[in-house]
Symmetry: C2
Subunit: 380 residues, 2 copies
């Protein structure tokens, strides 16, 4: 391998793949980035076996020559070190050469480096996915659906399937569900997919989706999604992002979500969130983070929390609309705050089914986004 | 105690003193903030016994009423919780009351809190310092002198005196010295003090000066400094900052700094720093962080570092001026980078006294700031 390429473009591609560079040193090859130079361009690949990212640098881009290729070839470079070295190279061009023993030489301006590389044959191959199972989603839609559900995934590794978000696609309804057994978040959007195209029990790790989210472009770009048996591939321009699908069956949660309520309230999102933030301050020390919500007549609710030997706080929030029975319920304030932060609308609708039964939080004007919380059973 | 005061102004004062709120729970009273209301205003005090900070809120400021005082009095509030609660209060006015059992009630808009306070009599008293030992330094000067030397203090608690910066004042020469035995940084400025006014062996903890630095205003304000037997007080407008003086005698370093050199070079600061940053990447894994600097003829130096089984890097930097013997020396690249970062001038002067003897880094155009590094003794 021998080539000269634009430093900034190389840096950009390194940044794309760096999230998949493994930090564990048990499998040294995975701490590297595979560099492959061919007559069409340079491909960078990183993989920690859970996610794999590939970024492509074409020979030419916008009528500018990015790569001057002398000899094609490939090598695995030490990931973290290569990342930092390229960023600090003095010239805007970087010359990279590799000999038969995978010794890498790098030149840029007055800097000369020699690095010990690794055999690219040892690097894991990316899965080949059947592209006929492809659909497209706007980058912004994908981002917001991840943001609206990701906080509800379980962090408990003893039920691995719940550390992921369930994806389903059915008659153009694209839906995410996440639950940690104490709460559930779900979000649904209509997308312009082939109505025949369906997805079932595709569960993707929340951690991997959080990495994907960082790579999703801000613009209204369409992201191509290819779902195969045990892998999903996201295509974002010159970047490919592969993630493993979690093994197991996601629990059926469709019957948990109540359709009718014993009481319903509508509150201003900001006022309610601010009061909840304050109540959280006195409840966060305890694992349960309990706050109590009580209706006062038909136009106010009271939010209360206390911490023994420290103090207590009471807040009153005006209710914009209220129907049904009086409300008196205790729940985890962290769960409520997570749900509230994912809702952008001005007003919040909360539907209660009883002091011991799940309640539902959603934007006043939409049922496409919905959060369910199980109340805490208190003595008083 | 009973008063109503402006929330933003209270927040500001809480921020000032919060750096002195103790995180250790062994002495509960020190995790609090003392609030004292008198007819002139409200004083907040925090102290972790090492540093103490006081911030004063006057009854009136810029012809606006800040505090409406009903009953003077005092109480110790729980520090961290009070800080976060006040920041999140819904109204721009906060009403605070305290009963005879130090139970605190806080009201703001629709929020009502009760907190368990502590007896202000148990809070440590601030030292009373003799104000006749006062001099003044521009905030900017103090900031830059701390920044220029603080990195060289020792982090080794076995010689506590070296965890501090030595301050001396002699015939208007205000001087800082810090050393960890492997390197030394010193900085001197002429200030407009009484020529009779002198300071000797005042050693202040680097950690405390780093907290002071965060409170120093950006403007060209004069800071009044009162040095007493075992405390130094900094007066910054309505803020008082007290720090303990470290016990012990700072070593005499005046004879260590060489006045004549076997070789001298002048290099461009940016080029040299960039090359050093790159060499650091391959040396940082080892405790010694060794790089090698070698002169090549009269117009270049070479900077080299290597990491076994990983690789090596060589950089060449143009020398703007060179005098004396050829140079070949090894040293800790982290120490060099720390020194370089504190120098703002375009060119750097380095004076060498031999491969095993200390060398001196300073701005080309000034001797007021000076860094000394002991080289590393290598076999080759």
């Amino acid at each position: 391998l021998k080539l000269t390429l634009n430093k900034d473009r190389l840096n950009e591609s390194i940044q794309h793949v760096s999230k998949a560079v493994s930090n564990r040193t048990t499998i040294p090859i995975l701490s590297g980035i595979k560099l492959e130079a061919s007559p069409s361009g340079v491909t960078l690949t990183a993989s920690d076996t859970d996610i794999s990212i590939q970024s492509f640098i074409p020979i030419q881009e916008n009528e500018q020559t990015i790569v001057q290729l002398e000899h094609p070839g490939s090598v695995v470079v030490p990931g973290r070190l290569f990342t930092e070295i390229i960023r600090r190279m003095p010239s805007d061009q970087v010359e990279i050469g590799v000999d038969d023993h995978f010794r890498i030489s790098i030149r840029s301006g007055s800097s000369e480096l020699e690095l010990v590389g690794m055999d690219p044959e040892e690097f894991p191959l990316l899965p080949k996915l059947e592209e006929n199972n492809t659909f497209s989603v706007q980058s912004e839609v994908l981002k917001s659906m991840i943001r609206n559900t990701i906080f509800a995934v379980s962090t408990n590794e003893s039920s691995p399937i719940l550390t992921g978000i369930l994806w389903t696609l059915n008659e153009q309804k694209f839906k995410f569900v996440a639950t940690d057994r104490h709460r559930l978040s779900t979000c649904e959007r209509i997308i312009e997919a082939d109505p025949q195209h369906a997805l079932h029990n595709i569960v993707i790790s929340g951690a991997n989706l959080s990495e994907l989210q960082k790579l999703l472009p801000d613009q209204e770009t369409m992201i191509d999604i290819v779902a195969a048996d045990n892998q999903v591939l996201f295509k974002m321009g010159s970047i490919l992002f592969f993630t493993r699908i979690l093994d197991g069956t996601f629990p059926d949660t469709s019957k948990i979500i109540p359709k009718t309520f014993a009481a319903e309230i509508v509150v201003n999102a900001k006022q309610f969130t601010d009061a909840m933030e304050r109540a959280y301050l006195l409840s966060r020390e305890e694992k349960t983070k309990i706050v109590k919500l009580t209706s006062i007549g038909n136009n106010k609710i009271e939010i209360f929390s206390s911490l023994s030997e420290i103090g207590k706080i009471t807040d009153q929030v005006d209710v914009l609309r209220m129907e049904g029975d009086p409300v008196k319920i205790s729940f985890n304030s962290r769960y409520m705050l997570d749900a509230l932060k994912s809702i952008d609308s001005e007003n919040i609708h909360i539907g209660f089914t009883g002091p011991m039964s799940p309640f539902v939080i959603r934007p006043e004007d939409s049922e496409a986004l919905l959060h369910l919380i199980l109340p805490y059973r208190t003595a008083n």
